[in-house]
């Protein structure tokens, strides 16, 4: 079986790789490209730990075939911070102790970023609805929601 050559942009960088059709984007990110920030929690789209942003849309990378990202732009958790510092969401997660074990945190950060890109001033209900596809077992979500609220205040002020 010949591998397929894929060209894509990941976190702003042009990236090329070879992959088998059966490999998911999550698998290629983690195994072949070294982006281990996205996590495998269930591999069937039910926990959100593998969330990435694909051409501006929030998706579970375990349910995207790597071959499908030809010509697309992908943002992973590794693309949130810049040389100038952490993204407000990352900063607020730290200040609010919104992570305990931290395994779900990359997925939540990416999902929350997609939310704020789409709606920079969400209500609590809108935040909870948007993040319903990200499971956390440690925090009970309370401090995650508060961090997103605080980050949205920062983001919408600077918008």
């Amino acid at each position: 079986m010949n591998k397929i050559h894929v060209q894509s942009k990941i976190n702003g960088e042009n990236i090329e790789f070879l992959c088998e059709p059966r490999q998911s984007l999550l698998e290629v990110l983690r195994e072949d490209l070294g982006f281990t920030g996205s996590k495998e929690g269930c591999n069937d789209g039910n926990c959100g730990a593998c969330s990435v942003i694909m051409d501006g849309t929030l998706v579970d990378s375990c349910l995207v075939l790597a071959v499908e990202i030809q010509g697309k732009e992908i943002t992973t958790v590794e693309g949130l911070a810049t040389v100038d510092g952490l993204h407000p969401l990352q900063q607020k997660f730290l200040e609010n102790a919104s992570l305990q074990c931290g395994i779900c945190t990359p997925g939540f950060l990416v999902a929350a970023k997609a939310l704020l890109d789409h709606n920079s001033n969400p209500t609590e209900h809108e935040i909870r609805h948007w993040l319903a596809g990200n499971l956390c077992r440690c925090t009970g979500y309370d401090k995650i929601i508060r961090a997103v609220q605080e980050a949205s205040a920062v983001v919408s002020k600077s918008a």
């Binding site: 698998e27 983690r30 990352q90 200040e95 305990q100 077992r137 009970g140 309370d142």
Partner: protein, 768 residues
């Protein structure tokens, strides 16, 4: 918010610094067990039994071995030979070595669907996964038993040919699924019941539920030709992995090094080992490192849930509401092998109250389910469900407030428990009083089909062993090496306790979790012990550093150590008050002139060294047409002794509460008639999502633990004990139905409402 009642007594403790490992975790750079990458690494997968109970007649791995890309296949035949009677002590008393090895890779029988049967190592994950379907296992399917009461019957299918009952310390002759019967007795229960004004008795059932950590189990192993075995894994106890893996493989502990990685949740479930020996065997066979990552289905089907349970509880009270007698019969599902936390359930059933006459009979029963593993206050939730709902029933009978009946009976310092423990200073009363005075409890709840419930729960703290070493850098920062894997921010809480002694900024203390080769022995991160015990060790190490720094100052000032003191961040010359040095200044001096400062703290703190009580208040709304329960408001109250880092104490309270909410309303292992678990995905094993919950309010109570320098009580666990009971009480308040089975699913609520309407046609349902 924490009530830091010390009013400036502490410089670091009680503050909320950003955790030391925070940046790398929010950047996705932290290395969890699944992220480990080693040169030449192979990928593994485990084949699991599709049957709940079967004899293995043969395993043919040849086709799998021939698949291109497969490098090795292992089965129990690759483990050392086990004699039936070999016994081993892995820290919890003697158990059969066969049970331990068989749970890793089944030998003659599979005892639950998901039981590991073989392991494959291949050049990539896809190939390893594909190879599983080529392994041919011939099974002789046997009848399965998946309910604790059924398993106790005389005609139940037997899981083990050699298992007899440990009947209160004496082994019986009769083979059985009942592995143990334990009894506690206090006073004269028969007399107590005879003299009681009110006696009620009920039966309770709880379903099997899983810890539900988002990170599946993992294990990477490299077996060098010289016999050195290195394991990288996400675990709650690197030394447990070392000891158990060495035992399974019959390999010297001295040749096993465990390097714990960051861990994505455990709650007790990542104390047992599963994949590590399989990875080791595959590595030995291939000469390469091999990594295994468990599938989600494998996690649900192959790793320890908490026991499903049956509890029968009888309570006797006088007409003032004072409990005078208690009689509890409880049976816990151990899963395929003995060892449920039945003894903890026995300890916890009356733990919140002064019950002068009580008897508890506990049974540990094997069933065709995965071997149970600890889950956050194991056994406490199951029994709190029983007693906390029955207390409300008594309160209702005599027209007493729910908090008042609990306060009347609350355990205090000096209360003797049914297992003969006498309580030291505890905060049971204080958490209840905080609940009664809370804004939540004093805010009226209005609206149809709405109700409020409260409950209290308990968990103890184990002490056991921890050690840390601290080395002082020339710039006055300190490297703190400890051995407690950090699941929830503990490395920072431990660093804070170190920093407090020396009045250092916590950012100047660099905590690191070491591997088994670089730190001394540490017991597990579990049992609500870490902040307590490893913090205590850090405190001791800081005292040791302080003493050494005093020596350095004394030498510098040409004094003896008695003439130097450490006060208010300064090392002071008692003979000349103009002379004082900060820690930083002294570190610089010491690094030039003195031997390196290495502080050590090493503790062994006993089994039962504290206790934390948790109280919940919950408001619910029930949809009477669908049976769906919405949590409107939830308050978690807990005695932390002293909250070192209040944000992480709050986090523990919130996390345990939400696990309890899931346990109460939706979570269960669903079995078909063949005893196979059907819902082994996060789709159908339904843990709460962000949309299912309100904010979780927290109230931290601080009744200092007299056995700890800062008064710390471990808070990790007690918070999961009361939520199902509190929700049950709230549902009763809302719709007049008392549930005695978990989960309280929507269809059960509809059925109960229908039954209620039929039996009381003229009586209004609450709120309608």
């Amino acid at each position: 918010m924490s009530n830091n009642s010390d009013n400036g007594k502490y410089k670091v403790i009680g503050t909320r610094p950003v955790r030391h490992d925070g940046a790398e975790k929010v950047m996705g750079k932290a290395i969890y067990g699944g992220d480990v990458r080693l040169s030449g690494m192979l990928f593994g997968q485990v084949l699991r039994s599709p049957h709940a109970h079967a004899r293995i007649k043969s395993i043919d791995t040849s086709k799998a071995e021939e698949l291109e890309g497969v490098r090795a296949v292992v089965t129990s035949a690759d483990l050392p030979k086990t004699n039936e009677d070999d016994m081993i002590d892995l820290g919890e008393g003697m158990t059969r070595l066969k049970y331990i090895r068989d749970n890793i890779l089944a030998s003659d029988k599979v005892l639950y669907r998901g039981h590991a049967v073989a392991g494959v190592g291949a050049i990539n994950q896809q190939t390893a996964d594909e190879a599983l379907s080529l392994i041919e296992v011939e099974y002789e399917v046997l009848p399965a038993v998946v309910n604790v009461l059924d398993a106790m019957k005389d005609n139940a299918p037997l899981l083990h040919d050699t298992l007899t009952t440990d009947e209160m310390g004496e082994q019986t002759d009769k083979t059985s699924n009942i592995a143990a019967h334990l009894q506690h007795k206090l006073g004269d229960p028969e007399k107590g019941f005879n003299e009681a004004d009110i006696v009620i008795e009920h039966e309770f059932h709880t379903a099997t539920v899983h810890q539900g950590y988002i990170e599946p189990h993992n294990g990477t192993a490299m077996w060098n030709p010289d016999g050195q075995l290195t394991i990288w894994t996400s675990t709650q106890g690197a030394f447990v992995v070392q000891k158990q893996t060495a035992a399974v493989l019959d390999h010297p502990i001295s040749k096993v090094k465990v390097v714990p990685q960051e861990i994505g949740g455990g709650f007790g479930g990542k104390i047992p080992i599963y994949l590590e020996p399989v990875a080791a065997l595959l590595s030995r066979k291939t000469g390469h490192p091999v990594k295994l990552l468990m599938t989600r289905a494998g996690v649900f089907e192959g790793t320890g849930p908490t026991p499903g349970s049956y509890v029968r509880l009888k309570l006797g009270a006088d007409k003032s509401g004072k409990l005078v007698a208690g009689d509890c019969y409880l049976a816990f599902e151990a899963g395929g092998y003995p060892g449920s936390p039945m003894f903890c359930g026995c300890m916890c059933i009356f733990a919140c109250y002064d019950v002068p006459n009580a008897i508890v009979n506990g049974y540990d029963v094997v069933v065709n389910k995965p071997k149970s593993a600890p889950y956050r206050a194991p056994g406490s939730t199951q029994v709190a469900f029983a007693i906390e709902t029955m207390l409300d029933e008594i309160a209702e009978k005599i027209g007493m407030d729910s908090f008042d009946i609990r306060l009347l009976n609350a355990a205090k310092e000096g209360t003797r428990r049914v297992d003969d423990l006498v309580y030291p200073r505890i905060g049971c009363v204080e958490t209840m009083e905080a609940g009664k005075a809370s804004d939540h409890y004093n805010t009226p709840l209005e609206g149809p089909y709405r109700g409020r419930g409260i409950a209290t729960g308990y968990w103890f703290n184990i002490g056991f062993k921890s050690c840390v070493t601290a080395s002082v850098n020339e710039d006055g920062t300190v490297n703190l090496m400890e051995g407690s894997t950090d699941i929830g921010g503990s490395r920072t809480s431990i660093a804070m306790q170190f920093a407090e002694v020396l009045a250092l900024p916590v950012e100047d203390v660099n905590p690191r979790v070491g591997d088994t080769g670089e730190i001394g022995y540490n017991d597990v991160t579990g049992g609500s012990r870490t902040t307590y015990a490893t913090g205590y060790a850090a405190y001791n190490a800081a005292q040791d550093v302080k003493a050494q720094m005093i020596e350095i100052a004394a030498k510098h000032w040409e004094l003896t150590a008695d003439d130097v003191e450490f006060v208010d961040e300064f090392f002071k010359n008692k003979k000349d008050s103009s002379k004082q040095l900060t820690f930083k200044e002294l570190a610089k001096i010491g690094s030039a002139d003195d031997s390196p400062v290495i502080g050590k703290g090493s503790v062994n703190l006993g089994f039962h060294i504290g206790g934390s009580f948790a109280t919940n208040i919950v408001d619910v709304e029930v949809d009477p047409e669908t049976g769906k329960v919405t949590i409107l408001r939830f308050t978690a109250i807990q005695d932390a002794g002293k909250a070192i880092h209040p944000s992480y104490v709050e986090g523990q309270m919130q996390g345990g509460s939400v696990q309890g909410i899931g346990w109460a309303l939706n979570e269960e292992y669903f079995y078909n008639t063949d005893g196979k678990m059907e819902n082994s995905t996060f789709l159908d094993y339904r843990i709460p999502t962000a949309l299912d919950l309100p904010m979780i309010e927290t109230i931290i109570v601080e009744v200092p633990n007299p056995t700890h320098p800062y008064g710390v009580r471990g808070v990790g666990e007690a918070n999961i004990a009361p939520p199902p009971a509190a929700i049950t009480n709230a549902i009763y308040n809302a719709i007049g139905v008392r549930f005695r089975e978990l989960p309280m699913r929507p269809d059960r609520i509809i059925a109960a409402l229908a039954a209620k309407r039929e039996s009381e046609p003229m009586e209004a349902v609450a709120g309608s």
